[in-house]
Symmetry: C2
Subunit: 240 residues, 2 copies
Amino acid sequence: MTISSPHNDRIKAVRRLRRARERRETGHTILEGPHPLRAALAAGVIPEVVFVPEGDPAPDIDTEVVTITQQVLDTIAPTEAPRGPIAVIAVPEPEPLEAEPTVVLWELTTPGNVGTLIRTAAAFGWNVAHHGGADPWSPKVLRAGAGAHFVVRISEADDTGALRAAGLTPVATVSSGGVPPVTIDTSNPVALLVGNEAHGLPQDVIDACEAALTIPILGPESLNAAVAGSIAMYALSRGS
Amino acid sequence: MTISSPHNDRIKAVRRLRRARERRETGHTILEGPHPLRAALAAGVIPEVVFVPEGDPAPDIDTEVVTITQQVLDTIAPTEAPRGPIAVIAVPEPEPLEAEPTVVLWELTTPGNVGTLIRTAAAFGWNVAHHGGADPWSPKVLRAGAGAHFVVRISEADDTGALRAAGLTPVATVSSGGVPPVTIDTSNPVALLVGNEAHGLPQDVIDACEAALTIPILGPESLNAAVAGSIAMYALSRGS
């Protein structure tokens, strides 16, 4: 059977998962494209259902697979150039914080930045913690993460106290006035806080950190938040 | 006078500048928001015209300023959350290549990545060269550049021969199999080539480079192209 109507009830339910509120209420999200689905399957995630566009090969998995028309795909997929398959998955529970290098996404609001930092964390073997801002499990963030969500540990971070209680040393990333990465003591695992794109980290959060780090640049320019956080992870991983 | 109709001829002409072809034919582009406009003005760019939403302060510049309604702004601005003012500017001519560290954007297609790399180049004092892919002067790229377009030198790069002729040593960025940044000889200024998000650099281009650089990561993950290029600029700037 092929679903060919965008008004089909199951398709409407999937489309509603673009909204944060619907994801919270149902505990589900959507994964788009072959690469994120492969990464999810490799991590042992079992989708609730996979929608495959007509003519595409059906994935070899032990779950419900439903064929859809290209027109239906266009109405489900949250991106401009939709690509099947579309998998509905349960949003994993946040994992407990661990005493391992962790990048803390603090009220970042751009889905592309959140996804990019999760991808960088996976590449450098860091964990991720999340505090407010863009939903790390939104379709746009999953897309920018390129499968990394299923490789990294993703936790919630209430405050710097919770980070310290987990054995982490909180370090703030600030756009100016901080010390260069090479001077940060990484003998204890660092929780690297990266703040909002427009406003940075709140001052009380910076004050509650052990140190503030700035990537040395030529003033008065600035770095994109995902780039600053990524360079800091690279530098702290190497101690340089 | 306030323009309140989205069908006004001048507004329609501005809206057409979202298209690459229209920008090529007219030699104009649009700058959105106060920060890029400030950066352009500081660099001596004189807009053809500035459209200011009703109620916003008019910029203090010696050029035509036209008031528009919020509704008209919404139809002009290429982003989801449009922000005035909207300035129409002439696209600058490409500058000649110089023997100074240069990041070469080689067939990158995501506007956010192109703008982000231009922003990083400005922050580390690098020049930029462009070869195919996303138009570096598109509204989306200008937005991601956050004003950096008016700080950096932006050239065209036909091929690696043109880079060498300008006194640059071409170095390819590759996702695996290259040497770490610390081993790259930077005694001569480097042209750091960053390739397409999905396909990387063409093999013949890699072969024509002096060296291939890889940011050391945990396999089998990967870095976003703008992040890889940004980390490479950081590392080569520091020699680490």
